[in-house]
C-alpha cells in the first residue's frame, strides 16, 4: 500500500512538472458546471442586473472586470463558444422571472443558422440547460471540491482536442495512418476563464501570429463546411422576436450587440450574411437598441488576432467604449 501510494504520488508530481514545463498552467475548465452556477445566479438577479448571452464574441469581447469598473455592477456571463444565443435567451424569458437587461451577442453564422435543438449551434446550450435542471447536490459538491484542485494543478484539465492532457484526450490525438479523412485542422485552446466566467484571449494568441494562424485555419474550415447549410433566417428571427416581446412586456430590456470581426472572416460574413439581409431586419423586427461595431468609431478599428475575437487588451477597450455608449444612451447608469 505504501509503495502504491508513494509511487502514484511520485508519478503525479513528475506528470505535473512535465506539463508545466510545456507551458500548461493551472486554470479552470470552461465547463457545464461553471456555466450552471451563473445560470443559477439569474434566479437571484434583479431589475438592475445584466445578463449576457451569445457566442464566443460576446464572451471574449465583453470583459466583466471592465464592465464592473465602468458601471459598478458585474454582468452575469452566459455566452457559450460556438453557440447561438436563441435557446439561452428563450430560457431566460420563459423559465425565469428576470426582468433586468439581457445583452444578446449576435454572430450571424450562429444566430440565424437553425432552431433544431440538436444541431451544433444549439446542442451545447440545450445540454447545459438540461444539466441545470438535472444537476444533483452531489454534482454541486463535486464541483465545489474540484475548484481548488483545478486552480492548483495544471494536469487537472477537462479540455478535449489537441490541447487536452487527460489520458483520453492524449489517446484521441494519436494518429496511425488515416482510415477516415478528418479535414478539421487542429483547434487549439486560445482563452482562459476565471470563476466569474470572464474569458480572455491568451497572450500567445495575440502575439504569436503563427499560433493565431492555426485558429484562422479553423474558421476557414467552418466557413467551408457551413457553406452548404441554408440559414433558417425567418424561423430564428421570429423565435427570437417573439421572446423579445414577452420579455419587454414584463419590463425587461434587450440590447443587441454585434462584436468586431476582421480579415477574410469579415469578408466571408459580408458575402454570406450581409448586414442588410440579416442584422438590419433583425434590429427592425426586434425593436430594441442595437449596436453594430461598424456604426461607432470607438467600437471599430480593432485588429482581431485570429479575425474573430479581440485580444484581452482590445476587449477591455471595446467593453469600456460600449458601456460608455450605453450609459450615454440611457441604458446603463454608472
Amino acid at each position: 500500500m505504501i509503495i502504491g501510494i508513494t509511487g502514484a504520488l511520485i508519478g503525479l508530481v513528475a506528470w505535473e512538472i512535465f506539463w508545466r514545463s510545456h507551458d500548461f498552467v493551472p486554470d479552470l475548465d470552461d465547463d457545464d458546471d461553471l456555466w450552471v452556477i451563473h445560470r443559477a445566479a439569474v434566479e437571484e438577479a434583479n431589475k438592475d442586473d445584466m445578463v449576457i448571452v451569445g457566442s464566443s464574441r460576446a464572451y471574449f469581447d465583453l470583459q466583466l472586470d471592465k464592465w464592473e469598473e465602468e458601471t459598478g455592477r458585474r454582468p452575469i456571463q452566459l455566452a457559450i463558444e460556438g453557440s447561438s444565443p436563441l435557446y439561452a435567451f428563450d430560457d431566460l424569458v420563459n423559465n425565469t422571472d428576470f426582468n433586468g437587461t439581457i445583452v444578446v451577442g449576435v454572430t450571424e453564422g450562429l444566430f440565424f443558422s437553425t432552431l433544431f435543438p440538436e444541431a451544433p449551434p444549439n446542442e451545447k446550450v440545450v445540454n447545459r440547460l438540461k444539466y441545470y435542471e438535472d444537476r444533483t447536490y452531489a454534482d454541486r459538491l463535486n464541483y465545489t471540491l474540484s475548484i481548488p484542485l483545478q486552480s492548483s494543478f495544471a494536469f487537472i484539465s477537462d479540455v478535449s482536442g489537441v490541447d487536452g492532457i487527460k489520458l483520453k484526450a492524449l489517446l484521441d490525438e494519436i494518429q496511425v495512418g488515416q482510415r477516415v479523412p478528418n479535414p478539421m485542422p487542429p483547434f487549439h485552446k486560445f482563452s482562459e476563464v476565471d470563476i466569474s466566467r470572464n474569458l480572455r484571449m491568451t497572450t500567445r494568441t495575440a502575439t504569436d501570429t503563427a499560433f493565431a494562424g492555426t485558429i484562422k485555419k479553423v474558421w476557414l474550415f467552418f466557413n467551408q463546411a457551413g457553406s452548404q447549410n441554408i440559414p433558417e433566417k425567418e424561423a430564428t428571427t421570429n423565435f427570437f422576436v417573439e421572446n423579445v416581446k414577452k420579455f419587454k412586456d414584463r419590463g425587461g430590456e434587450v440590447i443587441l450587440v454585434r462584436c468586431p470581426s476582421t480579415g477574410v472572416l469579415r469578408e466571408h460574413e459580408n458575402q454570406v450574411f450581409s448586414r442588410s439581409e440579416f442584422w438590419d431586419p433583425l434590429v427592425e423586427k426586434a425593436e430594441v437598441p442595437a449596436y453594430h461595431f461598424e456604426d461607432y468609431a470607438t467600437l471599430s478599428g480593432f485588429d482581431c488576432p485570429e479575425w474573430s475575437h479581440l485580444s484581452a487588451e482590445d476587449a477591455d477597450i471595446f467593453t469600456a467604449a460600449l458601456v460608455r455608449i450605453l450609459i450615454k444612451d440611457g441604458f446603463l447608469s454608472n
Binding site: I3, G11, L145, L171
Partner: protein, 471 residues
C-alpha cells in the same frame, strides 16, 4: 453519489474516520452508516429517499408478521403486500412510460386515436437493485428460510447499506444482516485489500471503461448510419468491454469499500468472458442477479423438475424478465430472449452431445460464447431496433457499402484491450484475484497499484455515471 467523484472521497474519508475513531459504540456506528447511506442516496435526489423508507418499513413490518403468523392465508397477504409495494414502485417509476407507450400503440393499432401526454417520471437510481434485495428478505421470511432481523436498525442498514445500494451486488439477508449483529472492524489486511479492490474498481471504471472504450462504443452506436462490418464489430466489442469494466468496476468498488468497514459482500463477477457456454456465463456475470432470478423466479416457475418443455419455458420466461429488469424497452426484452434462447439451445445440445472440455476446444468454445454474447450486447446498447438491426447486418457483413467511421488507432486500441480482457479472463477463469495477489511479490503488487492510481488520476474528468445506475 458516484464512487468516481471527489465528493465520494470526502464522504468515505468522513465515514471511515467516524467508524474507526472509537468515539461511537457499535450501535451508533450502525446509525452513522445508515445516516451516511441516506446522505449518499439523497445527494442525488433527496425526496426519493422516501421510497427507500417506505420499502424498508413495509418489508420490516411484513417480515415481522411473517415470523409469527401461522395462518397461511394471512402469510400470503403479508407477502403480497411486500411484493405489491416493491413491484408497484418498479412498475410506476421504471415501467410507467413503457406501459403507457405500449398501451397507446395497442389502442391505436385497434383504430382508436389516443395520444396521452408522456408521464414525467424520474427513475430513482438503483431502484431495481434495492427492491429486489428487500423483496428477497420477505420471500425468504415467507418460506421460513431465514430468521427476522433482530432490530429495525439492522434491517434498515441491510436495505440501504451505501456501498451496494444503487448497483449491487444484490445481497441476501442471510449474508448481510447477520454481519451487523456483532461489532465489525476490518483487520489491517482486510482494510488494505479493500482499498486495493476500490482502486481496481475505479481503474476498471475510469481508465478501462470510460477512457479506453466508451468513446468508440458511443461513436459506433450513435452514428445513426449503416456501418462497415469492421466498425460494427469493434464498436460492439468496445461496448462489451465497457459494460463489463463499468459494472464489474462498481461491484469491485462496493466489495472493497464494504471490506474497509469489515463487512464482506459476495463476488458479483468471476471472469465472465471466459465462460464456456451460457449456463457458465450466468454463473460468472452479475452473479447476485442471476442467482436471485434462479431462486425467486426460475425455480418457482418449475425449474428443471417438471420436464424438459416446462424447463425451457421457465428458462425463456426468466431471461425475458431478466431482460426487462435491465430496462423498460423492447430491445432489453430481445436481449433477454436471446439469452434464454442460447440457454435452451445449450441445454438441448448438452443432452445430445457429450463433449469433454480441453484447453483447445475450451478456448474455441469460450470465443464462440463471447461472440454470441456480443450479438446480444447490440440489442442491449442500441436505443432503437433500427440501429440494432443495422449493426447486426453489418456484423454479419451483409452491408457491404457501410461507411467507415473509426480510425486505425481506435481499432487497434479496442482490439488490444479486448484481447487482453479475454486472455486475462481465460487464464483466471478457475482462479481469483486474491490467489493471484498472494503469488505476486509485494513490490510488484505495489508498483501495479501505483500505476493504477496514477492512471486514474490522469484520466480524471467529469466523472461519468455508471451504466447500471439506470437499472
Amino acid at each position: 453519489m458516484l464512487f468516481n467523484s471527489l465528493g465520494f472521497i470526502l464522504f468515505l474519508g468522513l465515514v471511515l474516520f467516524l467508524y474507526y475513531t472509537g468515539i461511537l459504540s457499535w450501535t451508533n456506528r450502525k446509525r452513522m452508516l445508515l445516516l451516511a447511506s441516506y446522505l449518499f442516496y439523497g445527494l442525488w435526489n433527496p425526496p426519493l429517499v422516501i421510497l427507500l423508507w417506505i420499502s424498508t418499513i413495509v418489508d420490516w413490518t411484513a417480515g415481522n408478521k411473517l415470523a409469527v403468523e401461522k395462518n397461511s392465508g394471512r402469510r400470503k397477504l403479508w407477502l403480497l403486500l411486500s411484493m405489491l409495494t416493491n413491484l408497484g414502485f418498479l412498475a410506476f417509476f421504471k415501467y410507467g412510460n413503457f406501459l403507457l407507450e405500449n398501451f397507446t400503440a395497442g389502442v391505436n393499432a385497434l383504430g382508436m386515436t389516443y395520444e396521452p401526454q408522456p408521464m414525467d417520471i424520474i427513475l430513482p437510481m438503483g431502484i431495481s437493485f434495492y427492491t429486489f434485495q428487500t423483496m428477497s428478505y420477505t420471500i425468504d421470511m415467507y418460506y421460513q428460510r431465514i430468521k427476522p432481523a433482530r432490530t429495525f436498525l439492522d434491517f434498515a442498514l441491510y436495505v440501504t447499506f451505501f456501498p451496494q445500494l444503487v448497483a449491487g451486488p444484490i445481497v441476501r439477508a442471510k449474508d448481510l444482516i447477520s454481519q451487523f449483529y456483532d461489532e465489525k472492524k476490518a483487520t489491517a489486511n482486510q482494510f488494505m485489500w479493500g482499498s486495493f479492490l476500490l482502486t481496481i474498481g475505479l481503474f476498471q471504471k475510469v481508465v478501462l471503461a470510460d477512457t479506453l472504450l466508451s468513446g468508440t462504443a458511443d461513436a459506433v452506436f450513435g452514428a445513426a448510419k449503416v456501418l462497415n462490418g469492421l466498425d460494427a464489430w469493434i464498436g460492439t466489442l468496445a461496448f462489451s468491454g465497457q459494460i463489463f469494466f463499468d459494472f464489474a468496476g462498481y461491484s469491485t468498488c462496493a466489495i472493497g469499500i464494504a471490506l474497509m468497514l469489515g463487512i464482506i459482500l459476495p463476488d458479483n463477477f468471476k471472469y465472465p468472458y471466459a465462460a464456456i457456454g451460457f449456463s457458465d456465463l450466468w454463473r460468472r456475470w452479475h452473479i447476485s442477479l442471476s442467482t436471485w432470478l434462479r431462486d425467486y423466479l426460475y425455480i418457482p416457475l418449475g425449474g428443471n423438475k417438471n420436464g424438459i418443455t416446462r424447463m425451457y419455458v421457465a428458462l425463456i420466461l426468466t431471461m425475458l424478465l431478466g431482460g426487462l429488469w435491465h430496462g423498460a424497452a423492447w430491445t432489453f426484452v430481445v436481449w433477454g430472449a436471446l439469452h434464454g434462447l442460447y440457454l435452451v439451445i445449450e441445454r438441448f445440445l448438452r443432452s445430445k452431445v457429450r463433449l469433454k472440455i480441453n484447453p483447445i476446444n475450451g478456448i474455441f468454445l469460450a470465443l464462440l460464447t463471447y461472440a454470441c454474447v456480443n450479438i446480444t450486447w447490440v440489442f442491449f446498447r442500441a436505443r432503437e431496433f433500427e440501429t440494432a438491426i443495422n449493426m447486426i447486418s453489418s456484423m454479419f457483413f451483409i452491408n457491404n457499402d457501410g461507411i467507415k467511421l473509426l480510425q486505425y488507432f481506435d481499432i487497434f486500441k479496442v482490439t488490444v484491450v479486448i484481447s487482453l480482457l479475454f486472455i486475462c479472463h481465460y487464464l483466471m477463469r478457475n482462479s481469483s484475484l486474491k490467489e493471484l495477489s498472494l503469488k505476486t511479490p509485494s513490490w510488484l503488487f505495489g508498483v501495479g497499484w501505483a500505476i493504477m492510481l496514477f492512471l486514474i488520476a490522469i484520466s480524471q474528468g467529469s466523472g461519468q455515471q455508471f451504466i447500471y445506475f439506470q437499472f
